[in-house]
């Protein structure tokens, strides 16, 4: 009976035969664990869709109510906090995995003939994944999200000619307001996922059409005239069915990925909600989620005169490289014959991790929470020195300068400033400032400058 039902279903729909055809299509042998990242990215996307739909049943996409609905989801709804955690770590997994998948594809030159369109569809999926990650962070709709929208609009505003309109498009008006969140919600849950579905369909269809790329071998360059015949011969000679010979690794890795996401959702939990999304609360310290934190550091550390170039040309250049790469669709695939490709991947990942690490410290930001210097640091009974230490804190010097571990790191550490500058030089620096330090001539009285300098003169 059941057999007959499935036979009828297959006759009318063709679904089972199509699925069997896809699952059992021959793949090159010995593909190994390097090939699991694409399927794991797809699984992470499915995880996002499932958890996202569940969250959307309680989330209210209204600027005035989203924050409260998220508090409800996090604090009262059954499994709400866990689902938010799954969605957050699922997003993290998706970003990380697609990054590794793209790197692997580039390292093995799997973008070469005949898989140029596989690469292009994957490149667009990478950009869409980043767009999903950014818009998803904004749906958290707390103070950090609101200010992140403004920062995003400000960056768009740097674009020549269309920048101002792009910024207004992002804000859905002149300011943050009722229309802003609804717009991001629609993009995050409808528009971008719809594009992702279409492109995943295309990407998978292309994978079936051209087959999974074989492991590259030194001395076996891609020649469009002969590649297909060679590949077909390889499959006839040594090909194995995708299911289960190759797919078991995808299943094992995917299960480990989901288990890790579940574990993190339980043990770490979702990001805590910040203050309410009130743009008039100025005690804010906006930061992007970890996957975009490195870019936050780039914008802090880039030379000011290069900033517009980085903001405007950076994404354009990145997009152009992704699109134009398949032009070089012939030749060696092995990274041993393309050492510069390996170096480039190492350079990109090292740069991202380095900027990410710098952003963790964010020592370019003033330390607004700096505490007054204790007596054990001041180490003096001289009333002028003690008063200088007090002014050093009160007048904000300590926001940017540390003394024996107290204070910010934006400016030089002044623990031993007297060993490199005389009191007169210190006074001059405070009064006149320097390229990256305000001149305090307007805001400090001369005797205050002298008192602070007297305190700093004891720092050896």
């Amino acid at each position: 009976m059941i057999k007959r039902f499935f036979a009828w279903l297959d006759d009318r729909s063709g679904l089972l035969t199509s699925a069997r055809h896809a699952l059992e299509h021959p793949v090159p042998p010995r593909t190994g664990w390097w090939y699991v990242f694409g399927s794991a990215t797809l699984l992470a996307f499915v995880l996002q869709v499932v958890t996202g739909i569940a969250l959307a049943t309680a989330y209210v996409p209204s600027s005035g109510q989203a924050y409260d609905s998220l508090r409800f989801i996090s604090e009262q709804a059954l499994m709400g906090r866990f689902l938010r955690g799954m969605h957050y770590f699922g997003a993290s997994a998706m970003v990380l995995l697609i990054g590794i998948h793209v790197s692997r594809t580039y390292l093995m030159a799997a973008y070469k003939f005949p898989r140029e369109l596989n690469w292009l569809s994957g490149a667009v999926l990478l950009l869409l994944t980043l767009a999903l990650a950014f818009t998803g962070q904004l749906l958290r709709w707390d103070q950090n999200a609101v200010w992140s929208v403004i920062v995003g609009a400000a960056q768009a505003g740097r674009m020549p000619i269309v920048g101002h309109d792009m910024a207004r498009f992002i804000l859905a008006g002149d300011t943050i307001g009722g229309a802003t969140l609804s717009r991001f919600f629609a993009f995050h849950v409808f528009f971008i996922p719809a594009l992702v579905f279409v492109l995943i369909g295309l990407h998978l269809a292309l994978v079936l059409r051209h087959g999974i790329s074989e492991r590259p071998k030194v001395g076996e360059p891609v020649d469009p005239a002969t590649y297909r015949a060679k590949y077909d011969a390889l499959l006839r000679r040594e090909g194995v069915p995708f299911w289960p010979d190759a797919a078991w690794r995808d299943v094992v890795f995917g299960a480990c990925m989901v288990a890790t996401v579940v574990l993190l959702a339980i043990t770490v939990g979702p990001p805590e909600l910040g203050r309410p999304p009130d743009p008039s609360i100025l005690q804010a310290d906006p930061r992007p989620d970890w996957y975009l934190l490195w870019y936050f550091a780039v914008l802090a550390l880039a030379p000011v005169h290069l900033e517009n170039v980085i903001i405007v040309l950076g994404p354009l250049l990145f997009g152009a490289i992704l699109i134009l790469l398949p032009i070089f669709n012939k030749g060696e695939r092995s990274v041993r014959r393309r050492p510069w490709a390996g170096l480039l991947v190492v350079f990109i990942w090292t740069t991202i991790v380095s900027f990410w690490y710098a952003a963790q410290k964010a020592d370019w930001s003033p330390d607004f929470a700096a505490k007054p210097l204790p007596a054990s640091v001041v180490k003096s009974g001289d009333p002028t020195v003690v008063e200088g230490a007090r002014l050093f804190h009160e007048k904000g010097c300590e926001f940017c300068h540390a003394i024996e571990g107290f204070g910010g790191e934006r400016g030089p550490d002044l623990s031993q400033v007297a060993s490199r500058m005389s009191p007169v030089q210190i006074e001059a620096r405070i009064t006149n400032g320097s390229p990256n330090m305000p001149a305090y001539a307007q805001s400090l009285k001369p005797e205050e400058v002298r008192t602070i300098a007297a305190f700093l003169a004891t720092r050896r």
Binding site: G14, T17, H21, S63, W147, G157, G178, E307, P438, S443
Partner: protein, 177 residues
Amino acid sequence: MDPTGRPEPPAANSSAPSADPERRRFLTRISIALSTFVAAVMGVPVVGFLVSPLIRKAPRVWRPVGSVDHFKVGETVNVSFEDASPLPWAGVTAHSAAWLRRDSATQFTAFSVHCTHLGCPVRWFGEAKLFLCPCHGGVYNADGSVAAGPPPHPLPQYPVQVRDGQVEILTSPIPIA
């Protein structure tokens, strides 16, 4: 056989009675034209709706932020006010803020709270007489001029007026460089 297991369908009979090339060309054109029309009917209002913020000119209105006596000469304080035309569901996101300084008995200056670097909220530190940005370390002098860090422009100012004993600020767009 196609991938679904179904035998390939027979090819169309090009010598069938309806196979007049002129008729085919006409049917192709009319189908494409109608499809384009349908796509336009669906697409134009959607695109127009999405880009409407670019066309819509937001009104600018004067918002009271407190009575004149409320502010001390020389002090810079944070004031909040409502946007020009908030949507009913905007909630707290309809709020805006400014740094307001009373310069003299009758003169006020209102600074934007948005750093000109990337829009982060600047904070006023009265003892240091500086505006500081927490994001990338931008620093502004008391008059809003750039003192240090990456901001490319001084802090913008909002128009301020005193009317019937109330200090009023003219609502303005978020300054985008």
